[in-house]
Structure formats: structure tokens, C-alpha cells
């Protein structure tokens, strides 16, 4: 059975791109346009990886990471978040909220794949 990843981003381009990259390394991919929907999608699922944007409408990535981590099912799921080089403060907040690693935007899908492989997910 292939590993399932959840992609959360309000930008469809990013969602598609990340999905494409993940599928290329045989992930099954679920996606959601904001944190709120992502929590709904994630409920009860066995996820191997979560990739989320931070800056999103409805529910921000930080809030999402907090709530997602609070679910015992998802206590150890690696969370990668997407950020920009200027978001230093956010980066630390996201880490303390329970995120595993981050990727600086803009990024090429190859880079994303490299990071995932580097983390050994």
C-alpha cells in the first residue's frame, strides 16, 4: 500500500505541483485549500506526511499544525511547511507548534523530493 500524504495550500498551482512531485515518488495524495478543510480530510487517516503552507485564509498553517498535532493519531506524522526566506519568526513558531521541517519558497519540485528523501519519509 502506498504512503498517503496531505497537501494543504490555498494556491492550486502549489497544490498541483506538490501533488505531482509526491506522486512521482509514489505517494498517494490528498489535498485541502485551508487548515480547516485539511483537518476534516486528515481525520482518521493514516498519513505518512503533511505538507502545508503557513499563510492561508480561513485557518492559518500554524493553527492547523497545532490542531493536527493535538490529534493522537497524528502525533508523529512528519509535517513539512512552506515558507519564505523573510518569515524567520514564523519558522520558529511553526517548529514549536510541532512541524518537522520546512521548505523555502519558491522551490522546484525536485528540491521538495530531495528534502523528503533526506528526511527519510
Amino acid at each position: 500500500m502506498s504512503k498517503v500524504a496531505l497537501v494543504v495550500d490555498d494556491s492550486m498551482v502549489i497544490r498541483k505541483m506538490v501533488t505531482m512531485a509526491l506522486k512521482a515518488i509514489s505517494f498517494e495524495v490528498l489535498d485541502a485549500p485551508d487548515g480547516r478543510r485539511a483537518l476534516e480530510v486528515a481525520k482518521g487517516k493514516d498519513l505518512a506526511l503533511v505538507i502545508t503552507d503557513l499563510n492561508m485564509p480561513v485557518m492559518t498553517g500554524l493553527e492547523f499544525i497545532h490542531e493536527f498535532r493535538a490529534d493522537p493519531d497524528h502525533k508523529f506524522t512528519p509535517i513539512l511547511f512552506l515558507t519564505t526566506e523573510t518569515d524567520e519568526g514564523m519558522r520558529n513558531e511553526a517548529r514549536s507548534a510541532g512541524a518537522t521541517a520546512w521548505i523555502v519558497k519558491p522551490f522546484h519540485p525536485d528540491k521538495l523530493i530531495a528534502v523528503i528523501q533526506k528526511l527519510g519519509i
Binding site: 490555498d10 494556491s11 492550486m12 498551482v13 502549489i14 498541483k16 505541483m17 505531482m20 512531485a21 512521482a24 515518488i25 499563510n55 492561508m56 485564509p57 512552506l82 519564505t84 526566506e85 523573510t86 521541517a101 520546512w102 521548505i103 523555502v104 519558497k105 519558491p106 522551490f107 522546484h108 519540485p109 525536485d110 523530493i113 530531495a114 528534502v115 528523501q117 533526506k118
Partner: protein, 686 residues
């Protein structure tokens, strides 16, 4: 790691589409900000829009867009952090940025050069963050450095002692750094390694210096340290460009650093694709998943109905006929619903057309010194996507005209006891299978006397002609009436109403006007929901069937032999209620054999387009129905006088007549035409 090939080009269209949406949101947000400059929620939304465009554009290697949005984002960030105050200057720069970004997106899409305004507007933006306190150096520096090619940097990397205990591999990091460019020298500092007795085998004691030539920015190189920045110290410093390598190493030695060579792979940097391909702007549509699910439901219903039919015909029984009828009814119902639903997928809200109006109103009102309140209603009204793309102009021109010509200046309004601020109201709604768009103002209304005087001066009407007020108002749609038509669009002034009318008619729509002196004018556009299906009247000419769009049909009747008379040799006219209407023999125009040639034994179908009436001679009227329009241009080539073809219930093909092109042709050639010359050359249509 294995090479995985990912094709990003397929995503470009989605990017362009999304960028447009973000820009619309951006613009709307900016206008909201005018009213509530302190609204954090709005600033956040605007920031997010710029941020999203920047993030995705970088991935596609659209550097112009990335660096411009970066400048924009920096200003917005300052605004968000209240480091700069919202002012008219900021507003102007931000609005100008939207235009530049639109231009940049368009340029990227079409593979054209970046708009020239990008440079000055960029400078305008930068001026706000230059004056801001303590600009983040990397934010400012990045675009500048990005332009340098192959600069030399010195990267220092010192892992903390517990680096490897935390599961990190220093070599992997070094490799990532080395991948950023051409490594010229590597130095390992082992001075911190203690004596063997003091050495903790789980601790890490080395540090590294790489001198390399790179095209990457500092921030990009720093990414190599992304997950370890709290587990190490690192620095990226510019290296003096001309410093020979030996000197660098000598430097290192002089500093007492023992030198050990590390076999770090010096791989050619993989540059991001800078020349993103620009595919032909393919038209895409986004559909809610639920809509697609419903389609699937319907298709399965149809499959079931089909199975029932097969079953009823294969297994004859006493109830076979009833079963067959039930199945056919179900099939009929589901097919119709499927058609409606598929059509609905193509439907998009008019919001995208109306969305640009507030900005235009703001700019125009400011330019000419009028106070305008724009009221937009019904922007959720849906219309076929192909229409939306062509519909942008008419409502914009109408709103422009309403402000320019309809509304009075504030002082004039005050004199008449009206509020100083004029109101322009644009409203859209569905009505009987059409979309209606109304543009109204509470301005001065049309002055029949003035219009008539001008029309007489221009020779459009003769002084003794008797015209109702409505007929006089119609004159403003006449080509040549509007002097504004000569004024270029760029100046912000309206275009002639005749252009508006022509555009609307090109969309198979119609236009009407009501006005009251001193109280305002309202123009009403009526448009079909789609161009893919036309309400038509099927007519027979000889053995062939043709379709005349119902919108243009006024009436049909059998003329008395005396009603049709020849003028100017071969041309014919019919007198209807005192007006001479040219007769067009469709069998001659369209070369249909065996048709009835005597009008008094055939029918005349009176049609109207562009204000011109024509009488089409047909054998018979079959009836009205909806016809699916198939393009002739796509499947064959453009044919004058025909707007397309359709397939009839019995499988035959019928041509759909383009009444507008007939009206135009006839208008031009009436004086000289023999009826066989009515067909116009292809070049003139195209």
C-alpha cells in the same frame, strides 16, 4: 538519488489563471483599503495575494514576476508591520503595481517582453522601503544580487558538537552547498579536535570553509542549512572577486588553520528553468468537484436507462412496451438534465467582468472631477465562460459613458438639489433564458432636442422627419453620431455607443435604452446565456433547412404580389407599414435549388440586425427550437452570411444564418447590388 523528471509546463496555465484571480483579489483589496486604511484583515489578504504569486512564479522561473512581487511584498510587509503609513502615494504605487503585474503575467503568458512601466513602478515601490527604518538586508539585497552572474562567495559552516547526535549528516549539508555552484577551494578546520583522551566520540569537532563561484543568492545558499540552522553556525560572505585562489588558501593557512582536503563533490549547479516555455494560451475552466460528481450520477442513470431499453427490446413480454416507454422517458429526462448540467459547468459568475469596474470608476472620477458611487448588484449571475471573455468591454464602456456624459459635476448636482455624489448602478440578473445587464445613472438624462439637432447637423436625419423620443434616443447608437469614438481609449474617455452596440450584437445580444431628462439614463443589455446554443427558427428553402436566430426575427408572412417591387434593376424591396425593406432571396444567396421563386407563394421572414431590417424569402417556416451551434471555422472555414451549422433531429445538417453579416452586407451594397452580388467577399468578413 534517482533523477525524476517532472513536467512543470502543464501547470503554467493554472498558474496564469490563478495569478489573474489573485490580481483581482489584490485590486479589490486595495480599493477596500481606500475606505478602511487600517483594516488588518484586508492588508493580510492583499499580502497573501502578492505572496502567492511570488511563490509560484519562482517555481516556474518567471524571474520578472518574482522580483517584482518581491518588491511589492516588501512594501506590503512594511505596511502590515505599520513601519510605513498608508498614504495616497502608497495607494498609487500599489495600484500601479497591479497593472504592471497584469502586464508581466500577460507578457509571460504570451512570451512577450515585460511592460516598460515595470521599471519606474518598481522604483516607486522601492522608494517606500528605502525610507523605511532598518530594512532587512537580504530582502533588499536579493534582487540585486540575483542579477550578478558567477560571483564568488565564502561559506563557513561550523556544526555544533551534538550535530551528529541529532541525526544530521554534515557531508549532506556540504554537498547541498557545493551544489549551489562551482567549488574552488575547500578548507577543513580541525583545530577544535581535542587530544584523544579528551575526545568524545559522539561529538563533532570540525568546521568547514568553502570558497565557490555561484549564481545563487545568499538566501538560496542558506537553504542548505534549512533544517540545521539551530545546530550549527554558518555564514555566507562575498569573496573579493579578483582574489586568486592561492591567496585564499594562503590566508587560511596564515590564520593557523590546518588544511585537509575533503572530497566534496563539485557538481554543476542545476539552474532553475529561466526560459519557461509559453504555450498557446489554452482556455481552461475550473469546476467544483460536486458538479462533476453530479454529472457522473447522471451518466450512470443514463447507462441504466439504456440497459432498460436493451432489456425491453430483447425480452419481449406483455409489459415490454410499458417498460420501453418508461425507459425512454427516463432517458429523455436524464439526457436533458445532463445537457443543462454540462452547460452549467461552462457558466461562470459575472463578477470577473464587474470586478474591474470599481478601479476604473475611481480613476475616471478622479480624473474628470466628479463624485461617483458605484453600486454593483448581481455579480453572481452566471453566464457562459466564452461570453465572459468577450463581455468585458460593453459594461465598462457603459459605466464610463454614464460617468463621463451622464453624471453632472458636483456643483451642478447641488444646484438641482441632488446629492453631490452621483450614483452609477450596474445590475445583472437572469430573465427568461437571457442575462440582462443594466447600467443606470442618476445624472442629467438624454436631451432629445440636443440629440436631434446634432443628428440633423450630421445629416443622419432630415429636419422634417417625424421621430418619437425613443427613435431620437436610438440615434446615439448610430455609427458616426458619437464624436467620442475618435477619442482614444487611453485617455480614459468613453467610446462611441455604436461600438458598444456592435459588441453586444456580436454576442447575439440586444441593447435598449430608457432615459428621463434630469433624472438619468438606463441602458439595458440582453444577452443569451451561451453562444453554444441558439434559439432559432427553422425555415425551409428548396429541399434544405436553414436556421434563423430567433432574436433577430420580427415576423413572417406571405406577401401580396403587389407588395414586392423591384428597384434599381434586379434589387427588390417590400413595403412594410410605410418602410421599404430589402428582400433577400435566400435560395439565390445560398444556392438552394428547387425553391419557390414567387414571393406571393412563399413566405417572407422579416429580420433585424444593426438597426437594419431585411426580408428573407423562404419557402416555409418549420418551427422554432434550440439548436446546438457547430463552428464552421473549426470544421470547415468561415463562410460569409453563415454563423455556423447545426445537426437536426433527423441527422441532417442545417446552416445557421448570420443575420448581422447579411445586414451589414446589404447596407453597404444596397445601391449597387444585383441580388446575386449580395454575398460579400470573404476578405471583408474576416
Amino acid at each position: 538519488m534517482g533523477e525524476i523528471h517532472l513536467d512543470l509546463d502543464g501547470l503554467l496555465d493554472t498558474f496564469f489563471e490563478e495569478a489573474e484571480e489573485h490580481l483581482d483579489a489584490f485590486e479589490t483589496g486595495l480599493l477596500e483599503l481606500e475606505a478602511t486604511p487600517e483594516d488588518h484583515e484586508v492588508i493580510g489578504r492583499i499580502f497573501r495575494a502578492a505572496h502567492s504569486i511570488k511563490g509560484a512564479s519562482g517555481t516556474f522561473g518567471l524571474g520578472d514576476i518574482t522580483s517584482f512581487t518581491h518588491a511589492l511584498e516588501t512594501v506590503l510587509d512594511r505596511l502590515r508591520a505599520r513601519e510605513i503609513a498608508y498614504s495616497a502615494d502608497v495607494a498609487r504605487a500599489l495600484l500601479a503595481s497591479v497593472d504592471v503585474l497584469r502586464g508581466l503575467v500577460r507578457a509571460a503568458r504570451e512570451g512577450a517582453a515585460a511592460p516598460p512601466e515595470a521599471v519606474p513602478v518598481r522604483a516607486l515601490l522601492e522608494q517606500f522601503y528605502r525610507t523605511a527604518p532598518a530594512p532587512k538586508p537580504e530582502a533588499v539585497a536579493q534582487p540585486a544580487i540575483a542579477l550578478q552572474v558567477g560571483r564568488k562567495v565564502r561559506v563557513r559552516f561550523a556544526p555544533k558538537p551534538d550535530f551528529m547526535c541529532r541525526g544530521m549528516d554534515p557531508l549532506a549539508i556540504l554537498r547541498d552547498v557545493a551544489d549551489c555552484g562551482e567549488v574552488e577551494s575547500r578548507v577543513v578546520d580541525a583545530s577544535a579536535v581535542p587530544d584523544l583522551g579528551d575526545l568524545d566520540p559522539e561529538s563533532f569537532y570540525l568546521s568547514f570553509v568553502l570558497v565557490m563561484r555561484t549564481e545563487r543568492t545568499d538566501a538560496e545558499i542558506a537553504e542548505a542549512f534549512a533544517f540545521v540552522d539551530d545546530l550549527c553556525t554558518f555564514a555566507i560572505e562575498a569573496e573579493t572577486e579578483d582574489a586568486p585562489q592561492e591567496l585564499v588558501e594562503a590566508d587560511a593557512r596564515a590564520a593557523g588553520e590546518p588544511v585537509v582536503d575533503v572530497a566534496a563533490p563539485a557538481k554543476e549547479a542545476v539552474a532553475p528553468p529561466k526560459d519557461a516555455k509559453t504555450p498557446a494560451a489554452a482556455s481552461t475552466i475550473r469546476v467544483a468537484t460536486e458538479k462533476v460528481d453530479k454529472l457522473l450520477d447522471l451518466v450512470s442513470e443514463i447507462v441504466i436507462a439504456q440497459a432498460m431499453i436493451v432489456d425491453a427490446t430483447r425480452a419481449p413480454g406483455p409489459d415490454a412496451e410499458t417498460r420501453l416507454n418508461d425507459a425512454l422517458q427516463a432517458l429523455d429526462r436524464h439526457t436533458r438534465e445532463l445537457q443543462e448540467r454540462v452547460m452549467s459547468i461552462r457558466m461562470v459568475p459575472l463578477a470577473s467582468v464587474f470586478g474591474r469596474l470599481p478601479r476604473m470608476v475611481r480613476d475616471l472620477a478622479g480624473t474628470i472631477g466628479k463624485k461617483v458611487q458605484l453600486v454593483v448588484e448581481g455579480e453572481g449571475t452566471e453566464i457562459d465562460k466564452s461570453m465572459v471573455e468577450q463581455l468585458a468591454d460593453p459594461p465598462t464602456h457603459l459605466v464610463r459613458n454614464a460617468i463621463d456624459h451622464g453624471l453632472e459635476f458636483p456643483e451642478q448636482r447641488a444646484e438641482q438639489g441632488k446629492p453631490a455624489e452621483g450614483t452609477v448602478r450596474i445590475r445583472a440578473f437572469h430573465q427568461g433564458g437571457n442575462v440582462v445587464i443594466e447600467v443606470g445613472d442618476d445624472g442629467k438624462g438624454l436631451d432629445s432636442k440636443q440629440i436631434r439637432a446634432k443628428a440633423e447637423r450630421l445629416g443622419l436625419v432630415s429636419p422634417d422627419e417625424v421621430l418619437s423620443d425613443e427613435q431620437i434616443h436610438e440615434l446615439i447608437f448610430h455609427a458616426g453620431f458619437s464624436t467620442a469614438a475618435k477619442v482614444s481609449d487611453v485617455s480614459g474617455r468613453g467610446v462611441g455607443m455604436d461600438v458598444v452596440k456592435r459588441n453586444v450584437e456580436a454576442l447575439k445580444g440586444s441593447l435598449s435604452l430608457s432615459t428621463e431628462m434630469g433624472h438619468g439614463t438606463q441602458v439595458r443589455l440582453r444577452l443569451p446565456l451561451t453562444l453554444a446554443i441558439v434559439d432559432g427558427l427553422a425555415v425551409r428553402v428548396g429541399a434544405q433547412t436553414f436556421v434563423v436566430p430567433l432574436l433577430s426575427v420580427l415576423e413572417s408572412f406571405r406577401p401580396m404580389p403587389s407588395q414586392v417591387r423591384a428597384v434599381l434593376g434586379a434589387s427588390e424591396v417590400i413595403d412594410i407599414r410605410g418602410t421599404s425593406v430589402p428582400v433577400i432571396r435566400l435560395h439565390e444567396l445560398l444556392d438552394a435549388p428547387n425553391a419557390e421563386r414567387d414571393p406571393s407563394r412563399a413566405l417572407l421572414c422579416i429580420v433585424e440586425a444593426n438597426g437594419t431590417s431585411l426580408a428573407l424569402l423562404v419557402d416555409d417556416v418549420i418551427g422554432q427550437a434550440q439548436f446546438v451551434v457547430k463552428s464552421l471555422e473549426v470544421n470547415y472555414r468561415k463562410v460569409p452570411s453563415l454563423m455556423g451549422a447545426t445537426i437536426l433531429g433527423d441527422g441532417r445538417v442545417a446552416m445557421i444564418i448570420d443575420v448581422q453579416s447579411l445586414a451589414r452586407t446589404d447596407h453597404r451594397s444596397r445601391a449597387v447590388a444585383t441580388s446575386s452580388e449580395v454575398m460579400i467577399p470573404v476578405s471583408e468578413v474576416a
